[in-house]
């Protein structure tokens, strides 16, 4: 069974109810290599490690067939907003 982008989107959507989800197939067409960005309320109050664990768990069924999964972003809605509004990083 080849895991498609749609499979990944479906699995993440049902487990994490993301307010933003981007899944990019990075395999060049042969499947099973993905970059993902997830914004979900379920990440609230959780460290990055725990957020990645949630994503891994959501894809547990597909994981054996996925060759590479890169979780580019795992953010809460409140973290996502300032990032999407300010394209340039804020000067501190």
């Amino acid at each position: 069974m080849v895991v498609t982008k749609e499979d990944v989107v479906a699995a993440l959507t049902s487990s994490l109810s993301p307010s933003h989800l981007q899944v990019i197939d990075t395999s060049g067409g042969c499947g099973a290599s993905f970059d993902v960005e997830v914004v979900s309320e379920k990440f609230e109050g959780k460290r990055l490690l725990e957020r990645h664990r949630l994503v891994n768990a959501a894809l547990a069924e597909q994981m054996p067939q996925i060759h590479a999964l890169s979780i580019k972003k795992a953010l809460t809605p409140s973290q996502w907003k300032p990032q999407s509004e300010n394209e340039e990083p804020a000067k501190i």
Binding site: L49, H52, A68, L69
Partner: protein, 194 residues
């Protein structure tokens, strides 16, 4: 295996089994006779080496001074009370401040994610210990079970599981990694380019 040794209390006899051509996970046990209490019992130091890929892990125990002969029995510590693969992982992360289980070796990673993680960690000039999980499927499964994490590389700092390459990169970018590694002795704990 039979062992016949006579030893004065001051001499040290060594029996070494050749480790070449042994399968991964097999164990080499060396007996050092370090004393003789009376005519019938010996004090024996047993050093066990377990083979995992190209690396060795050591464990040492010293027997009591009775029932010596039982100690000479061939042992299989993987099934018995000795070190298991899980113990090896536990020891790895305990002993090594920065431990990475990866595909390939630091000088020649065999996966882009492992290469990325190594590249990031090397910027901090801290000692990095690694194991190549491609060489050892048993170890690979043990590490996955230990951390409850499905992919490699896996990075442990000061005994704690940190995550995979995405997390290490993210912690590198937001400064958390610098903070985490700051008290680990190295040539120079500052990241390059600062």
């Amino acid at each position: 295996m039979s062992v016949v040794c006579t030893s004065s209390s001051s001499s040290l006899s060594t029996l070494l089994l050749r480790r070449r051509s042994l399968p991964v996970g097999s164990e080499v046990t060396t007996f050092f006779l370090i004393g003789s209490n009376n005519g019938s019992s010996l004090v024996v130091k047993v050093v066990s080496m377990q083979l995992f890929g190209q690396s060795l892990k050591y464990s040492t125990k010293i027997s009591g001074d009775s029932d010596t002969h039982e100690d000479f029995r061939s042992t299989n510590k993987l099934e018995g009370s000795g070190i298991s693969v899980q113990d090896v992982v536990q020891q790895d992360v305990k002993i090594n401040p920065v431990m990475i289980y990866m595909k390939g070796v630091p000088d020649a990673p065999r996966c882009g994610f492992s290469a990325l993680a190594i590249k990031v960690l090397q910027q901090y000039r801290v000692p990095i210990s690694s194991r190549n999980i491609l060489e050892d499927p048993v170890l690979k499964e043990a590490v996955k079970a230990f951390s409850n994490w499905p992919t490699f590389p896996q990075i442990f700092v000061k005994g704690e599981f940190i995550g995979g390459s995405d997390i290490v990169l993210s912690m590198h970018q937001n400064g958390q990694l610098k903070e985490l590694l700051s008290d680990i002795k190295g040539d120079n704990s500052k990241p390059s380019g600062e």
